[in-house]
């Protein structure tokens, strides 16, 4: 329960009150329902409640069962949900950086999704705390053997203290950046000079993007790549980034569809916006395949033992099947599925592929994390842990975003670029 409440305190409360003083008139002015209202409360209560219960169940199973298996299941789900939140933060930063116009009407929803960053920090605790306490069930480098020359060489990076420092930097930076954009964006709703605030946010977005790239890369290395402390790949951060972007856009499209079902943004968000989200899903599906292929092909071709063992694990036994499923499910099918503009412009078909991509992206995380067990069989016995972790985190993610959304407009109404966003058309 504590997991769920904490982030929202930091998020919505202060911001929510300012605009709530005079909500009604603007809302009418806009000509569309841009408030979530009671639906937000339902999400917080019901979805958040289910999430909290599910996550507690997962933790309970973890305490009673095998710590390593629990931590791996937990990390899989966490890497998945974190990628969506980071994707949201990246997207918001990017829109400011390139001064995008088409997306203004969607921007606030993206900001709200990025408001889950404090929650992400809390959800990371079950990973960070055991590591900090010297438990090497998840990260074998925690208890490093001084005679192991390789680990000794890496010790300046792979040690608990520097890991903790980096975690503080990652989550601190992400929370601050997402909060800055959200706060400034809300201030813009009241502002007399909205253009100036756009300039301000653009100025922040450039260095923000640089630090985001670095923190994302090293977070991916710390949480996922160091599971096999001997293995290394320079492209690893980009690989995680590609998955984050494609799954964020899928989740984004689904959330927008849900919002419209609740009666919000019905006129503002048009087929054109979905078409663009679909294009991004398509483009980054290809990008993911490109990065994944580059990493695999180069390691396969050079065939150096210190690199290939990582793939050998994933091509042994049942893992081979999962690798093939990833290739087909995460690239071939969505590629042909999203090729046509008619599919991207139809909410049902787009929604189908969005769900599909989120599922296969979870499998991607599973494929990154679980082979650490060094077993030939898929660890299907841990399915209860997997499911409770995913459901728990997803529920809390929605609750945290809805909490932040409670009292704010879902569209940055004063942004001068808004009319262009409302009217734009694809070619």
């Amino acid at each position: 329960m504590a997991d769920e409440k904490k982030p929202t305190k930091g998020d919505g409360d202060k911001e929510g009150k300012e605009p709530s003083k005079k909500p009604a008139p603007e809302q009418d002015d806009f000509g569309d329902n841009i408030r979530l209202g009671a639906a937000a409360d339902n999400v917080v209560k019901i979805t958040g409640g289910i999430g909290a219960v599910s996550l507690l169940a997962c933790l309970g199973l973890g305490f009673t069962g095998d710590t390593k298996r629990f931590l791996l299941s937990y990390l899989t789900a966490y890497a998945w949900i974190l990628s969506i939140a980071i994707g949201a933060l990246w997207w918001v930063t990017l829109q400011h950086l390139v001064n995008a116009k088409w997306s203004i009407v969607l921007r606030r929803v993206g900001e709200l999704m990025a408001q889950t960053m404090p929650l992400m920090a809390i959800l990371a605790l079950p990973i960070i705390i055991p590591t900090a306490m010297g438990n090497d069930a998840l990260y074998s480098w925690v208890q490093h053997d001084p005679t192991d020359h390789m680990m000794h060489h890496k010790a300046p990076y792979l040690n608990v203290t520097s890991f903790l420092v980096r975690c503080v930097i990652y989550f601190g930076f992400w929370a601050v950046l997402s909060r800055y954009f959200f706060k400034t964006s809300l201030a813009q709703d009241q502002s007399k000079e909205p253009q100036a605030l756009n300039g301000k946010m653009q100025a922040v977005s450039a260095p923000g993007m640089i630090f985001l790239a670095l923190t994302l890369t090293f977070a991916a290395i710390d949480f996922l790549m160091t599971l096999e402390p001997a293995w290394f790949s320079t492209i690893f951060g980009v690989y995680y980034f590609a998955g984050a972007v494609v799954s964020f856009h899928s989740m984004f499209a689904l959330i927008l569809m849900w919002l419209q079902k609740q009666g919000a943004l019905k006129k503002s968000v048009t087929t054109e916006h979905y078409h663009d989200l679909g294009k991004m899903m398509f483009a980054f599906t290809v990008f993911w395949a490109y990065i994944g292929f580059s990493q695999f092909m180069l390691i396969w071709y050079a065939n150096i033992p210190e690199e290939t063992f990582w793939y050998k694990l994933r091509f042994a036994g049942d893992w081979k099947v999962l690798s093939a499923v990833l290739l087909v499910g995460n690239f071939v099918l969505p590629f042909f599925g999203l090729l046509s503009r008619h599919i991207k412009r139809n909410r049902k078909t787009l929604g189908f592929w969005a769900v599909w991509i989120l599922v296969v992206h979870y499998l991607d995380m599973y494929w990154l994390v679980k082979p650490v067990l060094h077993e030939d069989k898929l660890p299907t016995g841990d399915i209860l842990l997997d499911v409770t972790a995913v459901v728990g985190m997803l529920g809390l993610f929605f609750a945290a975003a809805a909490m932040a959304a409670k009292k704010v407009r879902l569209v940055p109404v004063k942004d001068p670029r808004l009319p262009k966003s409302l009217a734009f058309e694809n070619f």
């Binding site: 980009v238 490109y290 990065i291 180069l298 050079a302």
Partner: protein, 457 residues
Amino acid sequence: MAVLSDVNPFIEPPKGENEFARITHNVSRVTETPRPPRAWYIAFGIALSLLGLFGASIAWLFWTGIGIWGNTSPTFWGFPIVNFVFWVGIGHAGTLISAILYLLRQTWRTAINRFAEAMTIFAVVCAAVFPGLHVGRPWLPYWMFPIPNAMNMWPQFRSPLEWDVFAVGTYATVSVLFWYMGMIPDLATFRDRSTSTIRRAIYGAFAMGWRGSSRQWHRYERAYLILAALATPLVLSVHSVVSFDFATAQIPGWHTTIFPPYFVAGAIFGGFAMVVTLAVPARQFFGLKRIITIRHLELMAKIILATGMMVGYAYGMEFFIAWYSGAMYENYAFVNRLFGNYSWSYWTMIACNVISPQVFWFKKMRTNVWVIFIVGVIVNIGMWFERFVIIVTSMARDFLPSSWGYLVPTPWDYATLAGSFGLFFTLFLLFCRYLPMVAMAEVKAFVPSAHAGGDHH
């Protein structure tokens, strides 16, 4: 300044003409004027003499063999491959501007896309020359193609060098198609404005009877969109494949998984630098300041800054993982880059590629034509050194210390490099003189009066 006054009259449109006519007029006059500006002649003269140097270098190379170059054990890939990768990289911005910026609805690209595309093609031509020369047996390059032959042999498709043949070949072909297709409406404009029979016949033949029918425009625009969508992954693939040449090998400093996207980012970075290097004088001398504005240059400066940061990220990741990997050869390769006997090239690269674009953080710098031009030239130098660092430093210090060496370029290495610029600029200057340097039809579609009264849904 005297040069500028030559063309200034062309900037002003005939009295009473609308915006469309002014665009046609400004762009067409560059090719219709009987005498191009004096600067064109000077530049063309220099380019031709460099081209002559190129021809002489190649003739001597064929006569004597590749021993005239400095390539020797262990640095078998010396200048020729550095030049190849350099030119292929330059050839990326054109298609990027045309395709990716088109898909991203960046309408400002219309002012610069045409000559960026031309630049792409000429750069790819320059690039393609080098592997051809480097094989050392100029009568045998047909072995690279799957042609049934008397030896009953086929090319080896599992080799990255063979992938290069297909990647660069496809890229050159598709770039030419894309460029040519974009030019069809503008060639029709030239045909319809021409006063001489020869001009009419030649431009007419290439315009293929384009008359601006809306039914044809409809298919044309769809084809353009599709080509853009095809060219986008193609741009990524070309330099990725070039990076495979290195990254599939095991040489420390070559084998690293980030090479594909890193090479692509570097190529875009260098390509844009070349675009601004060419755009600044072109708009100056041909009176295109109203079409290629400071704003365009500023946006390109921003892209240079952004891609420069990406390249910096890749440099950083390479270093971090080289240390993190714990592999001693990797470690050594990177320490050697910093402090070894090629460290001068490494620090030149860092200064040019990572430090110099930082001036673009300031708007004042981004909007100063001279600063943009100079940084463009510096980045081009830096990108050449990047390839030098990757290829030469890594090869000169391989696994066996007994085989270490130091590449000493010969005068023929320098002559061939300088000569390739001659080929590039000769082609580019001919293009400026005889073909539509700006995509008129596309620029017209985005001027305000193109939508006047039009229904907008």
